[in-house]
């Protein structure tokens, strides 16, 4: 498995169809896993988890130089989920790619489970650092990128931020710092679903003009549809080829993507409790069969 992914990473900017199909498969699995895990947990953040599934699956499925047997390799690429409340998606994608067992990752937010409500590196080494306080994961990723450069390693660092997270002052400290130090091994992705905890970004604290802000900070800026997997993959490759400055991918996404009753409704930011009916409807919308739904919603072994 590892060898074939190495080849993919070296592949040209237009990704192969079978790779895109495989990642689409991963996102389908991840979305169902996210809904089921939050259902079983009785709480969690489904909206932002569903909006970021295509980005995280693309990272693990093609971009990251990272495999379950390389989580201690100093030359591995790093991914930091700075929007730590998106943990269920990270767990689901990681489970799909063999970093943990899918059923284990359904034991979300429970006493004794390493799958905490927000990622903790002390429980799960492959989450790279503990997050959950917005802004910090970005700075930690920056520190990793700095350290890897000092060690003259080729590894890259990716970090996913929420859009509401950009209201943290620390984000702009890090934005200035990464550009100043020309950290071209650092790539930030914004899950720009336009909604945050209480309301639309625009009503809480406006972010626009967002791309212009990052350009003014001297970052290489790309704006893409965050659910278009070929676009995500080729933008990652372009970012990796950028020299002398850090890259940011502003990924326009739909909060609650894939579950119509959640899409673009701020109330599904979480933390919410899903009823069996809501979980059933969500899984149906995500294409799960009756048999599969029964399996997903069966928590008897959790």
């Amino acid at each position: 498995m590892a060898a074939s992914l190495v080849e993919r990473k070296a592949s040209p900017a237009v990704p192969a169809q079978d790779l895109v199909r495989e990642i689409e498969q991963a996102t389908r699995f991840a979305r169902r896993h996210v809904v089921s895990a939050i259902y079983h947990a009785g709480s969690g953040h489904p909206g932002g988890g569903l909006s970021s599934a295509d980005i995280i699956a693309s990272l693990f499925g093609a971009e990251l130089n990272l495999w379950p047997d390389s989580i201690n390799d100093p030359d591995r690429d790093r991914f930091v989920l700075s929007k730590g409340h998106g943990a269920p998606t990270l767990y689901a994608v990681a489970a799909h790619y063999g970093f943990c067992k899918p059923r284990d990752a359904l034991r979300l937010r429970r006493l004794g489970s390493p799958f905490q409500g927000h990622p903790h590196v002390g429980d799960l080494p492959w989450v790279e650092t503990s997050t959950g306080s917005l802004g910090q994961g970005f700075s930690v990723a920056l520190g990793m990128a700095m350290g890897l450069k000092l060690q003259k390693r080729a590894a890259r660092v990716y970090t996913l931020l929420g859009d509401g997270e950009l209201q943290e002052g620390e984000v702009w400290e890090a934005a200035m710092c990464a550009a100043h130090h020309r950290l071209d091994n650092l790539c930030v992705i914004i899950d720009y679903n336009k909604l945050q905890s209480d309301d639309r970004n625009a009503n809480i604290m406006a972010l626009e003009p967002l791309a212009a802000k990052w350009r003014a900070f001297e970052w290489a800026v790309a704006e893409i549809d965050g659910h278009d997997i070929p676009a995500i993959l080729s933008t990652f490759r372009r970012a990796a080829a950028t020299h002398g400055r850090p890259s940011i991918i502003i990924a326009h996404t739909v909060k609650g993507k894939g579950v119509p009753y959640m899409e673009n409704v701020p109330q599904w930011h979480g933390s919410v409790k899903l009823t069996p009916e809501q979980a059933d409807e969500a899984l149906r919308a995500l294409g799960a069969s009756k048999e599969e739904i029964k399996e997903w919603l069966d928590g008897s072994d959790l």
Partner: protein, 328 residues
Amino acid sequence: MAATSEAPALIGTSGDSLREAFGKALSQLADEFPKLVVLDADIAGGTGVHHFRKSHPGRFLQFGIAEQNMMAAAGGLAAVGMLPVVTTFAVFCLRAIEQARLSLAYARRNAKIVASHPGLDVGPDGGSAQALEDLAAFRAIPGMTVISPADAVEARLATRAILEFDGPVYMRTGRSAAKRVFGEDHTFEIGKGRIVREGSDVTIVACGVEVARALEAADLLQAQRISARVVNMATIKPIDGELLARCARETGAVVTAEDHNIYGGLGGAVAESLAATRPCPIEFVGVKDVFGASGEPEELAEAFGLSAPHIARAAKKAVSRKPRKERR
């Protein structure tokens, strides 16, 4: 009362500041610790790491005036195997304490925070700059080791010790020229308190600049026929509970002395420890839950109750609170 105490251990009346001693030590240790990197937020001249900037510019990382990013970035540097030392003023460590909590302590990073300009020792810059809460705040973070050396010699030794130690550490240095307490033969071990002057009637447990003042207080007390033991408790967490219990047993009364709020710092740590092992009368010398003010450090120590006469008065009070049969 025991009439004899050993001669005061104060070696001189002035000396290097702890921050200069720390900065010079970092430079000297850099070759021995090849992963060491020093993080600065535009106050290298203030924290003493200008020495390191000059000697090892490639390992000196400038973060600008942005302590939150610097603190969390140290977590990332440690995560990829570097040995980061975050340097800034103690008040700005408070600004970034949540980053220290999540990205250093909770993430179990081997990163060090070294804070200059703690307490009233800051002097003329005034109340806004005088961190009197840092020991309490950092002590409350699980897994965080908290250290406050007494003089320049100990600051130098502690610098090596924290680099050798595996885990997150918060260490105070100091702004002002500090009195010398220790000779060149001094040794330092994290987690170990040290009796720096023997005595039998009361134990003064001090850290930082208050160790020198405690020794002066012991002189004042000796003139009043009270034999005061002085303990340098340079590690506030983990506190040396064994030594505290022994001192409480042998002297029957304790005074804590620190350039910090009387709540939650050394005094709190000592009281928590003795409450569980060997309860005895304890008096707390420190800033009494107020903010500081501008002034020279010695003036401030007098005005806010941190000077040697204040420690001596607290010691007499602690002795007077002993159960009658113990007072002799």
